[in-house]
Amino acid sequence: MKHSFLDKYSDKDSLIHRLDPRTKLVAALVFIALVVLLPHASWLTYSLYFTVVAALIIISRVPVTYIFLRSLVIVPFVLMVALFIPFFKEGVEAFSFNIFSWHLSVTYEGLETLGSVMAKAWLSILFLIVLTSTTTFSNILKALESLKIPRVLVMIMSFMYRYIFVLTDEVMRMKQARDSRNFGSGGKRLWQIKTVGNMIGTLFIRSYERGERVYASMVARGFDGHSRTLDRLCFKPADVYFVIALGTSLTLITLLNLLY
């Protein structure tokens, strides 16, 4: 039960941490939607949006290096799309190269698409990281529920969250047992895959049996498909100020973008 990689820093305290999770979730959705709607190559607007996220990161007091490293999760996808860029044929050629008899040219249009997509993806993920590292997962679930996500789905997600820790502990134990039997340092690849497959199979059987036991004990305690919780979400004056501040800056940026 020491898996701090799950919602790290969400237990700290700052102005952003204290906001109502609903405020933060809606703010994230609005921000990301605005960023995604922007046309390609609006570099000035991108940098203004970046200032907004940067301000939020500073106020939230989550370490900047942590947020930066987390945001690198999009890199593999960006690289894969970047590989396609040389094949954009339309547009003005920026530079070209030959691989054997294969003529590849990189156009300005291609580079512009890549740059814009990268900027948008990065801005979106930064805001998402601010949201998730200042809000605990259970509060995000409460926010999702008040945004009319079906209750059953939220309950399933809260069960998932609860049992991630238990099953991760189980996997760690299995991994330790496997590695202490020399898994990493030899054996054919097919044998290694078979070992992992057997571990996952064992984990599946144990998870399924656990699910049956959990359900039986829930029924024994009167579970009827509903959960009753003390809902303690409240919209405070701080949320109003936050909404006004963020709303004003986003509106100004949008207006500026429309004017130029």
Binding site: V196, F204, Y208
Partner: protein
């Protein structure tokens, strides 16, 4: 294959959200009908199982490692709608816990890995094992083919979404994505086979669960 925000156009985001929301709605309805309130803890724990299973890495080639994806296994053992429901929950968790995949791209990710992945795996498995007969061997062969194809088809759906959004041309994105995932799919297929054969040997009753 988790698409981040910013790669998809508004029209693609809206379309995939509508399809995925409809799919999840139907999955919840069917799970409720067939399993009653039992599906709530069961689906939650199996989603946590997918999370935990994805932590087991295995070496692939040249220092890289791969991990299990899971949609095909869940579809084979529990049925396509269960796969949609479980993968939707897993992907939402990955989005909010690891920022793996964006919020607005969540609809597309659920569509690719849950709906396309789950349904293709289930029907290929069902079709092939009907053709090959009811032996354990035919179940394993169908399991391999179903998992391989489900990874491949999910990646093709992803390439099409990127092309429709104007991010990358289909003529390049499609072969590149399909090529990479045809290799990843082999690992997924082998693991699914190992899992199914273990379940067959130890708890073969779990292979005959009611599928939804």
């Amino acid at each position: 294959m988790h698409i981040p925000d910013g790669f998809l156009s508004t029209a693609t985001v809206a379309t995939t959200y509508v399809i995925s929301a409809g799919g999840i709605g139907n999955a919840v309805r069917l799970a409720n009908k067939n399993l009653g309130e039992k599906h709530i803890p069961m689906m939650g724990i199996l989603a946590a199982f997918i999370f935990a299973a994805q932590m087991l890495n295995f070496p692939v080639a040249g220092g890289t490692s791969g991990h299990f994806l899971g949609a095909a296994l869940v579809a084979i053992l529990l049925g396509p709608w269960a796969a949609v429901l479980i993968m939707a929950v897993v992907l939402t968790g990955q989005c909010f816990i690891f920022q793996d995949g964006g919020i607005l791209a969540l609809g597309a990710n659920i569509f690719n890995m849950g709906i396309v992945g789950g349904f293709s795996a289930y029907y290929i498995y069902k079709g092939l094992s009907a053709v090959l007969g009811d032996s354990n061997r035919s179940k394993l062969i169908s399991g391999f083919a179903a998992s391989w194809a489900s990874v491949l088809l999910a990646s093709i759906a992803c390439a099409i979404e990127l092309a429709v959004s104007g991010t990358s041309p289909l003529s390049v994105a499609l072969p590149a994505m399909a090529g990479v995932h045809a290799i990843i799919g082999v690992g997924e297929g082998l693991i699914t086979v190992a899992v199914v054969s273990l379940v067959m040997a130890t708890r073969s009753d779990l292979l005959k669960l009611q599928r939804i």
